[in-house]
């Protein structure tokens, strides 16, 4: 599997949230500001990559019966490390994500990749898989944040742009149009459910259209090849 194929898979065709449809809890809960989205996405990317590398490295010596327990222990270890580092160096992110940082332990994406991929693949491929799946996840988070913030509050870049006293994580970003014209409901849990539903629907539509196009193209090629054969036989 080439790098380009893996990248395409991670971002589009095998996107963890939109196609595999796992890891949705955090996606809906924390996408209320761009700071949260990027912070969570990067945290998951780092944890996913580290766990992929470690699990792939020890895959030959893990006994099959307790492999899930060992995955969970390794993942919990990395999550705690990232949690402690965030509390010490980016406390604003730790506070706004709250209980969802330790909950990365049970994020289906990480356990799912460990079970489906890293158990069988070498370290190099697992490393790239971690980065690309993490990228796909981060992209979905960013899209949802941009949508919910813009249409919900009329803002952009909450927590990253226009911060209070330069402290990252504060402030409401650039106000593009007055907040009172926004659909406040999008910043509430309802908005999370609906945005994600709409995004997955768009992705399913796009994938189906591209699959239909590909099928139509192959059919046309086959017919052209058959026609050419018939023509050759007639001559």
């Amino acid at each position: 599997m080439t790098t380009k194929q893996q990248l395409r898979e991670g971002l589009i065709t095998n996107n963890p949230v939109l196609v595999q449809q796992i890891g949705m809890c955090a996606t809906m809960a924390i996408t209320t500001s761009l700071f949260n989205g990027i912070g969570m996405g990067l945290s998951v990317l780092i944890i996913l990559t580290c766990c992929n590398v470690v699990i792939s490295a020890i895959r030959k010596i893990i006994p099959n019966e307790i492999r899930l327990a060992i995955f969970v222990v390794v993942i919990a270890g990395f999550v705690t490390i990232v949690d402690l580092l965030l509390q010490a160096f980016v406390p604003a992110l730790s506070e706004s994500l709250g209980v969802f940082i330790p909950l990365i332990v049970v994020n289906c994406i990480i356990i799912g990749r460990a079970e489906a991929f890293c158990q069988h693949e070498p370290v190099g491929l697992s490393f790239k898989d971690g980065i690309f799946q993490g990228l796909g996840y981060t992209c979905v988070l960013i899209i949802m944040c941009l949508f919910r913030e813009f249409f919900g509050k009329g803002a952009f870049g909450g927590g990253l742009i226009n911060t209070v006293n330069g402290v990252i994580g504060t402030g409401n970003g650039v106000q593009i149009f007055p907040a009172k014209y926004g659909a406040l409901i999008l910043t509430l849990p309802v908005g999370g459910f609906m945005c994600l539903g709409a995004l997955i629907a768009v992705m399913q539509y796009a994938l189906r259209r591209s699959a239909e196009k590909k099928e139509a193209q192959e059919k046309a090629e086959r017919e052209a090849a058959d026609a050419a054969e018939v023509k050759e036989a007639a001559e």
């Binding site: 949705m24 969970v72 705690t80 209980v99 049970v106 459910f193 629907a201 189906r208």
Partner: protein, 194 residues
């Protein structure tokens, strides 16, 4: 004391429902709710596991982790306790209620990765609840989960006959319906009778 317990219970079931307000436990909520029987079974199992996990993890935290200053080991310890607990629940169900065991199938070991179980234990620690409050929060949180999943199962059974755009097939239409249910539950916010 009693009013505190009652207000925690009401909060967990209606006002801050684990699924509709706090988004904890969405994966089994969406995955297990195609039929009412599976939903009810899953709900009961989750209530049981959440209550027990809250109680046991509180004890472990109070008498082992805190005494030894090992606060940072909380996540690791809690998830191990939950994994062992689910294993025991699985063995117990297999022996005593085999029909429920076969109905739940693969979803029973998946309770380990249920955000709601680990979430409720972490929230207990964050809110500094005592033993009784933690256990009540665990049990009533599970009841809130069960209420949500059963409501949703009945909605999904009707969805099969609905006429929606093809690209919404599968999860998207479920998520939109869940969003509408979440909107309904918003009506409980700020409620305070205890």
């Amino acid at each position: 004391m009693l009013t505190n317990i009652l207000s925690i219970s009401l909060g967990a079931i209606l006002i801050n429902n684990f699924i509709f307000s706090q988004f904890l436990g969405c994966c089994p909520f969406l995955g297990c709710s195609n039929k009412m029987d599976t939903a009810v079974g899953m709900g009961i199992a989750v209530v049981f596991v959440m209550g027990l996990a809250s109680a046991i993890c509180w004890v472990v935290n109070e008498y082992i982790l805190m005494k030894l200053g090992l606060g940072f080991m909380q996540t690791l310890t809690y998830i191990l306790v939950i994994a062992v607990l689910v294993q025991f629940v699985e063995m117990f169900l297999k022996k005593s209620v085999p029909s429920l065991y076969s109905a739940l199938g693969i979803y029973l070991p998946l309770i380990t990765t249920n955000c709601a179980v680990l979430g409720v234990v972490l929230l207990n620690t964050q809110n500094n609840y005592n033993f009784l409050e933690s256990t009540v929060y665990g049990i009533t949180g599970g009841m809130g989960f069960m209420l949500a999943i059963c409501l949703f199962a009945s909605v999904r059974e009707k969805l099969e006959f609905a006429d929606y755009p093809k690209c919404f097939e599968g999860f998207p239409i479920c998520l939109v319906s869940a969003g509408l249910l979440s909107l309904a539950f918003m009506g409980f916010s700020g409620m305070k009778i205890f």
